[in-house]
Amino acid sequence: MSEPVKVRSILIGALGGEGGGVLMDWIVSCARMNGLAVQATSVPGVAQRTGSTSYYIEMSDKPSDGPAPVFALIPMPGRVDFVAASELVEAARMMERGLISPQRTVLVTSTSRMYTTAEKMQMGDGRFDSSRVLAAGEELAKKFVTLDLDKIARETGTMVSATLFGALAGVGAFPWDRAACETAIGAGRAAAASRAGFNAAFEAAAAPNSGPDTAPAAKPGVVASAGEAGGFAALPAEGRSIAALGYARCADYQDAAYADLYARRALDLAAAAGDGSPETAHALAEAARRLALWMCYEDIARVAQLKTKPERFAKIRAEAEMSDDQILSITEYLKPGADEIAAILPKGLGAWFMRRVERKGAPGALGRGVHVATTSVHGWLTMRALAQFRRIRRASLRFADEQAAIENWLAAMKTALAGSPSFAAALAELPRLLKGYGETAQRGQRNYDAIFSSIVAPAVARGDFSGAASLRKAIAAALADPEHVALDAELSQAAE
C-alpha cells in the first residue's frame, strides 16, 4: 500500500460579505490543478449579512492514487493546521473555540478591526482590547503572523479575500507555489487588483519578522506637547503636556485671557495636591484634561467655528479618498434646540427666551432640522456668522452656568486632592459624563448632578473620602446604559 495520505486543514474566519466564498473557490481550484483531493465547506446562511462566518478546507498533502481521504466538514479543535482571520476579533474567536494549538496551528490574522455593535454602542469605550488578542496569539499559536489585510486591500483596490489568500500563501499554508495562486486568480481588471492585493499580502506575511505593522492606537494624552508645557512646571510630568494642549484649546476656543484662566485653574489644583504620589499625578493629569474639555464646551458658536476651519475640508477630502479633480460639497445636519439657542444669547435675553419657550413652546422654526451647505457661499457666511457669537460668549447664559459648575467641581477637587488622591482621581473623571448635545447632554447633566449630590457633596462636607470606589462604580454605571438603569441601581445601593 502507498504511504498514508496526510490531510492538511485550513480554516478561514471572516465576516459575511467579505468574499470568503471566492477565496474558497481559489483554494479549491489550486488544489485541483495540483492533483490533490480537496473538500471545502462553509456555513454562509444569514451570516452573509455582516455576521461572523467561517470557511473550512481540507486537502490531501500530495497527489495519490489510493482512495481519497474522508474529509471532515467541521474543523476539529486543536487539529487545524492553518487559520487565517480577516479581522482581529475573529482571530480571538478562533482561539476561544480552541481551534488554535501551540503544537500545530499557524495563525495569520489581520490587525484591522471591524468593531461589533456591542463594542460600538457603549457610551464610553467598549472596544475589545486588541493588545490582548495579539498577546494571546503569541501564546497560543505555533506561529503567529499579523498584518493589516484591510489596509493592504484598500491600497491595492481589492477585497480582503485577495489579501487573505496572499497571507495564507505567504505563511506556507498551501502545498503549491505562488504562481499557482496567481493562475487561480485569473485574468481581467478585477483580477489585476486581486493579484496586487495577493502579492502585497504575500510579501508582508512571508517577511521573516512579520509583526504588528500597526502599532496599537496611542492612548490619548501621551502625545508630545505641542504648546508651552513649561508654564505648567508645577504639574507632574503626566499632566504637563495635557495642560499645554488644554491651554492652546482654550485660546482657540475663546481668547488668551480664557487660556490664562485655564492655566490658573490647573495650577491651583496642583497647589492643592497633598502629596506627589503617582495617584495624585494621575488625578491632576485627568483633571487637566476634563477641565479643558469642559471649559471648551460645544455650543453653537463652537460648532460653527469648528465646521468652518479650513483644514476640515482637506481632512474630509482625504477621508473620502478624493482626487484633486473631484469637487466636494458639504451639507451639515443641524437642529438646534431652544435651549441651545438660549445658551449663546446674553444671559438676560437667554433666560427670558427660555421662560417664553416654557410658557408658549418653541417658535415654529426651532425643532425643525436645517441643512446648511457649508461649502456654498451662503452656508459658509451663515456658519461664520454663528461662529461670531463667540465674541459675546462670556456674557451668555450658558457660560455663566458652566463656569459656576466648573468652580463647584474645582472646589471639590481641591479638597479631595488634599484628602484622598484616590477619590480625587475618581472625581477628576466625573466630568466625562458631560458630553453630547440635546437630550444626550441633558442625560449626562442629570447623571453628573445625581452623582455629585449623592456622593461628592456629602464626602466634601464630611471630609470623608473613603467612597472612591463607589464614585468610580457610579461613573461606570452612568456609562453603562442610556436609560440610567444601572446608575439608579448603583446610587440607591450606595445610599443604603
Binding site: G45, V46, S52, P67, P69, R79, L140, S329, L381
Partner: protein, 711 residues
Amino acid sequence: MERSFAAEIESLKLGEGETFHGEGILAVTKALLQSGVSYVGGYQGAPVSHLLDVMVQAKDYMAELGVSVQACTNEASAAAMLGASIVYPVRGAVTWKSIVGTNVAADALSNLSSPGVKGGCLIVVGEDYGDGASVIQERTHAFAMKSAVWLMDPRPDLPTIVRCVEKSFELSEASHTPVIMELRIRACHVQGEFTAKDNRKPAISTLHRTPAAPHDYATLSHPPVTFGQEKAKYEERMPAARRFILGNGLNEKIDGRHSDVGLIVQGGVYNALIRALQEIGLADAQGRSDLPILVLNVVYPLCPDEIVGFAMGKKALLVVEESQPEYIEHEISSILRRADVQTALHGKDMLPMAGEYTSEVLVGGLAKFIEKHVPRLGNAGAKNYADEIAELRARAVAALGGPPPIRPPGFCIGCPERPFFSALKLVEKERGPFHVSSDIGCHSFGTFPPFSFGNSILGFGMSLASSAGVQSFVDKRPIAIMGDGGFWHNGLLSGVTARLLNKTDGLLVIMKNGYTSATGTQDLVSTPRAEAKREAGGASTTDTELTIEGTLRGLGVKWLKTVHTYRVDEMKKTLDEAMSTSFDGLKVIVAEGECQLERQRRVKPIRAAALAAGERVVRTRYGVDDETCTGDHSCIRLSGCPTLTVKTSADPLKSDPVAHVTNGCVGCGLCGEAAHAATLCPSFYRADIVSNPSGFDRFMARVRNIFTKAA
C-alpha cells in the same frame, strides 16, 4: 436574485464521464436532471436556495429538456406540486428548508403520502441543524415516520449524494412512496466533485404532453380509501422499500478488526465519526476503521435483517444519531428485542441528547463506549484530547481577558429596514415599551442590538396572527412586523384576513423591500418589474410597485399608509398616529424601500460605465466631524450600520472613541435623518463628491473657494 449562476448552469449540462466540480446542493440539482425529472419546485431558504435559484436562472436549458420549474410561494405549495406524481408516471422533486418548511408542508405531505405515488418523488430538505443554523432545532425524521415517507441521509461526499438522489427516485417508484433527502448545512455547501452522466429528457414533459388521467378514487386521500392506504403503507410499501434498500446496497457496511462491537451511524455524520476515530487511533485518513461501522444512508425505514445481521455476534453497538429524540436508536432497540438478539445497545446514554455531533463530541462518546466494551484499548487517547482542548480554551479566555464580543448577522450597509427600526426606537423612547411581534426575515435582525425589539417569533409570516391574543389585554397597542416575503408566504391569510374577519384592532408593519431578501433576494409576486428597475436606475423601485397595497385595499383594509423608510421623522409620526388613533380596526403601515443588495447590483455597473465614459457622477457619503463628536455614540445606538463605527479620537484630550463613518458608506442617508429626527448632534455631514465635474461645477467651485478657501 443576489447572485448569478452562469458558471453553474454550464456545469449542469455536463455529459457522461465528465467531472462536475461544485457545491453539494448543485450536485443534487445535476442529479435531478440525470434522473429525468419532469418538474421541480420549492421554496427558498438556506441552505437549499441554490437548487432552485440555479434552475430558475437556467430557464432556457430547462425548456430545452422539457423540465418545468416553479418557484413556489411557500412549502405547502411546493409539497402539493408533488401531487402530479400520484397519478402520472412522472418524476418530480421539490426543495425547502427544514424543519420550518416541512412544518408548513405537512398537510400536503400527509395527503401525498397516503395514496402514494406512481412517479418517483423526491423532497430535498436542508436540515438546518447545528453551527450556522437559523431555525428551531428539530428533526425532519419525525415527519418521515409519521407519514411513512422514506428518509435518506447520505454520506456528505458528492458521489454518494448523487447516487442517493438517483436511487431515491427508483426507491420511490419501487415502493410507491415519496422520499425525503436531508442534507445538513455544510453538506449543502460542500465543494467536491463527481463523475457526471448525461441528463435525461423526461418522457412526459412540457415537450411531450400526456392525456389527463382517468378518474380513480383510489388515488384520493379521502375516505374510505384512506383506511386501505394506511394498511398499504406498512404491508406493501415498506416491505418493498426494504427489499430495494437491501437489494441495492444503499447502506454501507465497513468491516473492522474489533468485530465484537459495532457502530451504526447516520450517513450525514459519517465523516465526523471517521475523524473522531482517527483522533483516537482507530481509523486512518481514508476511513479504514478498526471498529465495524454500519453507515445508514437510508435512516427510515431501517431494514431489520440488516440490523440483526450487523448485531449478530457483537456484544455491543453504539448508535451515533444526531439530534433528538433518538428515533433510530428506539427502532434498533425494537428490532433487536423482537429478534431476541442480546447485543448491548448504546447511543444517547453515551452521547449528548442535543447539539451537533462534531468530531470533538464524538470522541467523548466513543471513549465511554470503548471503556465499557473494549477495555483492552484503554481510553485510546480520548481523555488526553478532551483535556488538551479544555486547557486550550481556558488559556485562550485567560489570555484574551474574557470572551470576545459576539458578531451576529445584521442589516447590510444601506439596508432600508434599518431606518424603520431607528424610527421605532424613537417611538419607544417617547411612549415607553410596547409589545412587538417579530417575524422571520432580514427584519428579524432588529431583534439584535442596538435595536433589541421583539417579544416573540412564531414562524414565517405569523407575526400578526401571533399578536391576536396579545392585543386583547396589553395596555399599549402591540406592533406586528413582517416582511413582504412573510406577507405572501403566510401573513396575508393567517394574519390580515383573520383580523379583518374578527374586526379587531391591530397594527401591522410590512417591510416592503421587494424580494425575499434573507434567502438571496428571490422574486415575489410584488417584486418590481424589470422595466421599472431599468427606468429607476439606481433609485428605489418599491414605491411604484403597489401589489401589496392593492391587495390590502381590495380586502377592505381602511387604515393603510405607505412610508418610505428613509423618512425617519415621517415614519415616526406615522407610527405615533397608528398607535394613538381611535380607529379600532386593522392599521397597516407599508414601510417601503428597495433591498439595498438589489439596488447596489444596478448602481455599480451604471456608475462604473458613467465614470468610464467621463460623465459627471455624484457620490454621496456621510461623515462625522471628530472635533464636534463627544463620543457618546447615541447615533450608533440608533443605527448599527457597519460603516458607522468608532475610532480613537484625533484629539489627544478626548479619551473616549469618537464616531466615524468609513469609506464603505453608500450614502443611504440614515445618519442625517436620524440626527435630525432624534435631535442628536451637529457632527454629521453629507459629502457630495462630483467626479468628472462639468464646466459649471468648476466655475461654481472657484467662486465658492474665494469665500471658503475650501472645496
